[in-house]
Subunit: 191 residues, 2 copies
DNA sequence: GGTTGAAATGGACTACAGTCCGGTTTGTGG
DNA sequence: CCACAAACCGGACTGTAGTCCATTTCAACC
């Protein structure tokens, strides 16, 4: 059901990783991400707490593991899917398409993404996926706005797509206005 | 030394508020904001934990109280100081001046602001000061970009000035590039 | 100065994240 | 099949945020 463990994983370790991920998925669906403690996940999975933490590091690591599959799908579409999300379209169109697709992904898994980003301070920037989004947007930004400091600028842009920010915006103004505003921000930069 | 309590505050309450704020200020200066627990503050102040939490709600409330004075100074300069930060200058100049002044404030007290924003999820948006910055930027944005959804857009803009974001940018690229990028983002919107 | 009740107090208590380490399981090489 | 080291396991333990409520303090009024 779940994949992505180390290549030479011992049988008991693989067994427990599966049990943990499926227990976490079940509990999150039942009670919501916020309301589930790590103890509860360990108990439901029938493993000790130590096992849980050694394998996933912390709550954010667990969220990342659960999001892994869906993240990879989006990354694939960016790297080799059809334009404008994939290669082939002008940079500014790809950037808009990325923001749109990313917000689809984000709003579909908001609680999980929030957990992956807020478990510890600065967690978001340490996740591999964030580096991917950042590099992608930085390259597109550099192409659309030659001369600008695309590296830093793309971090500033992505700040608006943080789970906490986007969540508050959706709650306050509804998804459509939230999307439009973030898109407008990007549009102003590259338009 | 510290002010800002309720208007009809009992003498013991006022005394303890002062003791807590000065103990917190001392400990933060000594060991850094991150490394100081609420227990330690209560002990240093010579009050019970209950008193501490009752008065300030949580860690973020304590940070807000410590920042209060400096926040108010900036707000005064915006409301009635000389342009371009204060009234009288064109909206886009005021917006740039605000971002500049806000980043001065932010970088001068980064740890404290980070604590005020990250103690609990969504904490930033519940703080009175945030509402002030938001309203101010929304008004200026509406004036510079008629027809745009200034309310939501200004949240998206301010996302780049979150303590966590600005902190990572400064750490990664240095203060000058971080400032320039955030300013460029604003400039793209109103320029 | 005594009475009174509302406000404030403080420390025991709960719940949770995350660490540690003695004991167990696994799979590999002989 | 056996021995053995490395990898893994689980649950007791620590440290922290935040809650609760029986007791104490304050100040307003007589």
């Amino acid at each position: 059901m779940f994949h992505g463990g180390p290549v030479n994983e011992r049988a008991d370790a693989a067994r427990n990783r599966e049990k943990i991920l499926s227990a976490a998925a079940t509990l999150f669906a039942e009670k919501g991400v916020e309301a589930v403690s790590m103890d509860a996940i360990a108990t439901e999975a029938g493993v000790g707490k130590g096992t849980l933490f050694r394998r996933f590091g912390d709550k954010s690591g667990l969220a990342v593991a659960l999001l892994d599959e869906r993240e990879r799908v989006l990354q694939e579409r960016i790297l080799s899917g059809p334009p404008p999300l994939g290669p082939g379209a002008p940079a500014r169109d790809r950037l808009t398409a990325f923001v749109d697709a990313y917000l689809d992904y984000l709003f579909a898994h908001l609680d999980l993404v929030r957990m992956s980003e807020t478990a510890s301070p600065g967690a978001r920037y340490r996740i591999g996926a964030y580096r991917f989004w950042h590099r992608h947007t930085a390259i597109l930004l550099a192409a659309s706005r030659p001369g600008s400091d695309a590296d830093v600028l793309s971090h500033a842009l992505l700040a608006a797509t943080a789970a906490e920010v986007a969540g508050v915006l959706r709650e306050e103004y509804g998804e459509a206005r939230a999307r439009d505003a973030i898109t407008a921000l990007v549009g102003a930069l590259v338009g």
